[in-house]
Amino acid sequence: MAHPALVPPVLVDPLPEYEDSVGPRRRRPSAWHLLLLPLSLVMLTPLAWMVVTAVSTVQESRQFPPRLPSSIQWSNFVAVWTTAPFGRWLINTAVVSAIVVASNLVFCSLAGYAFARLRFRGSGLAFMLLLATLMVPFQVVLIPTLLIVKSFGLIDHLGALIVPNLVTAFGVFMMRQFFLALPPELEEAGRMDGASRAGVFLKIVTPLMGPALATLAILTFLSIWNDFLWPLVAIQSPENMTMQLGLSTFQGSHLTDWPLLMAATLMSQLPVILLFLAGQRMFVRSIASSGIK
């Protein structure tokens, strides 16, 4: 659940030298490697050690100082898959993310467009109230939200993770900022040709939203994927858990079996890391192609 009180400064492309790094120019090895290599190794150590432990036996994990495993224990992954409903958690997370991302793309862009472009009675007040909810930490609304969701009969149901997240104030605000930065001339031309507001939105604005929607989709997905406190209080049954919550219960019940735990952690992170590798490129490319500055 995203509940930021602020919005990051408009992102310019943070990776502008993507192509340069594989460019044809040859140069002396830079002294920066002496700094960058140890740094990246330190940053990767927790992940690398997770992978190593995930393919070790329990005995190998209980030796000090630790050593690399003598053979690769693929059986750890099988053990994880059979002792906990990992597939179910993955499907649950995917279903919740897909619905929440899709609805945010639709509702946030509609509302963001209205707040940026349309002048209508009550829009100022509505937008102020929206901004006000953006300032509220999630912990404040946690208990009442639980009671509301309970009154809908959605406790311990995937709906509890979906319905309160269908639209986020953050997403509306982000899309509004995007539309404010978009030149309005095309839309005005469409209006003069007699198109309705809905027509202008569908035919003229929607094709321009790609990069903004990609950003919103990635941010929404990450917030749902990473959400923990809300699923923790809203979901009890293992078959309704998301990956994060499931992993934490798995951790709680296999406290000393580190190979099993690391195999589970690795499996739980693989989908999002793969998506990130793809998404990062998409992010960079979409900004570059649209020329947003």
Binding site: L6, D13, L47, P144
Partner: protein
């Protein structure tokens, strides 16, 4: 908001007929409300109503099952004399005071190092960015293992250089700083992304001018680039502070607030009160105090940040 006024006005003179103008005006009202109606309903129900409801709850004794009992300011008065709450506030302040500066300065230096064309830069950047998408629960699980007192990799490395094994999460004196270490790992990449984006907006000719004037690269970084990064720094400080004050996931997975309350932070205490002791009213009062604290800290940081950047000009 300003630009919105232009659209109907601009089209009016072209059409030149008042009825058309009127139609446009009406359609904007209808379209506007139609466009925001899903947001109004959902944000109203899950954004505004709970804020008011939580405020009411904070004046009640409420176990979240039976109807609440009105107790006035009793919850807030109790907070003032609750040693466990005071402890959680202390832990949260210490955590935030260490985590935020370390993360911001670390991110600045790492971003500066990553902002250049060297072979393998893609790999270096990925190494810093991947922790950003690693979930809090996974991060906490990995660090429990890395910092395991008996078989952990970090203690093995320490023993290589002749340092005795540490307790980390199990040592009351080290647990909170171990949490700092873990969360800096998780947040560093976020700050780096913000700084890398901001560094692109530093005009190259400014740095060239500094170089021509005989300014060393190192000096130019601190005197030219860092001041220009002030908006990014202010944003990062505020953002990381807000998140630090709401720390919960990592505590829940690693230490459960222990050992002996050494890592019980405010949101963890709130969670205990609400969902272990079923003091919904008391938990709501804690939430509102947290809300107020976040607002005050943010306003103070914004004001101080603006004043600092004005003083420099």
């Amino acid at each position: 908001m300003v630009r919105t006024a232009e659209a109907p006005a601009a089209s009016a003179p072209v059409e030149g007929r008042p009825s058309v103008l009127r139609r446009v005006w009406w359609s904007d009202h209808l379209a506007g409300w139609a466009f925001i109606s899903p947001t109004v309903v959902l944000i109203g129900l899950f954004g505004l109503v709970p804020v008011v409801w939580a405020f009411v709850l904070s004046f009640q004794q409420n176990d979240l099952i039976s109807p609440g009992k009105w107790v006035g300011l009793a919850n807030y008065k109790k907070l003032l004399h609750d040693p466990l709450f005071a402890n959680s506030v202390r832990n949260t302040i210490v955590y935030t005071a260490v985590f935020v500066p370390v993360s911001v300065i670390g991110a600045l230096l790492v971003a500066a190092a990553l902002n250049r064309r060297v072979r393998g830069i893609t790999f270096y950047r990925l190494a810093v960015f991947i922790p950003v998408v690693t979930s809090t629960v996974a991060t906490a699980t990995m660090f429990s293992w890395l910092l395991d007192p008996d078989f952990g990799l970090v203690n093995a490395a320490l023993s290589k250089v002749g340092i005795a094994s540490q307790g980390f999460f199990r040592d009351p004196h080290e647990a909170l700083m171990s949490i700092v270490l873990m969360t800096v790992w998780g947040w560093l990449g976020f700050g780096v992304i913000i700084y890398l984006a901001a560094l692109q907006s530093v005009p190259a000719d400014l740095l060239e001018a500094a170089a021509i004037d005989g300014c060393s690269r190192w000096r130019a970084f601190w005197r030219v680039e860092v001041p220009l990064l002030a908006p990014a720094t202010l944003f990062l400080v505020i953002w990381l502070t807000i998140n630090a004050l709401q720390l919960f996931d990592e505590i829940f997975v690693t230490t459960k607030g222990g050992p002996v309350g050494a890592t019980t932070v405010v949101v963890y205490y709130l969670y205990q009160q609400a969902f272990q002791y079923f003091n919904g009213g008391y938990a709501s009062a804690i939430a509102y105090v947290l809300f107020l604290a976040i607002l005050v800290v943010t306003v103070v940081q914004l004001t101080a940040g603006r004043r600092l950047s004005h003083a420099e000009r």
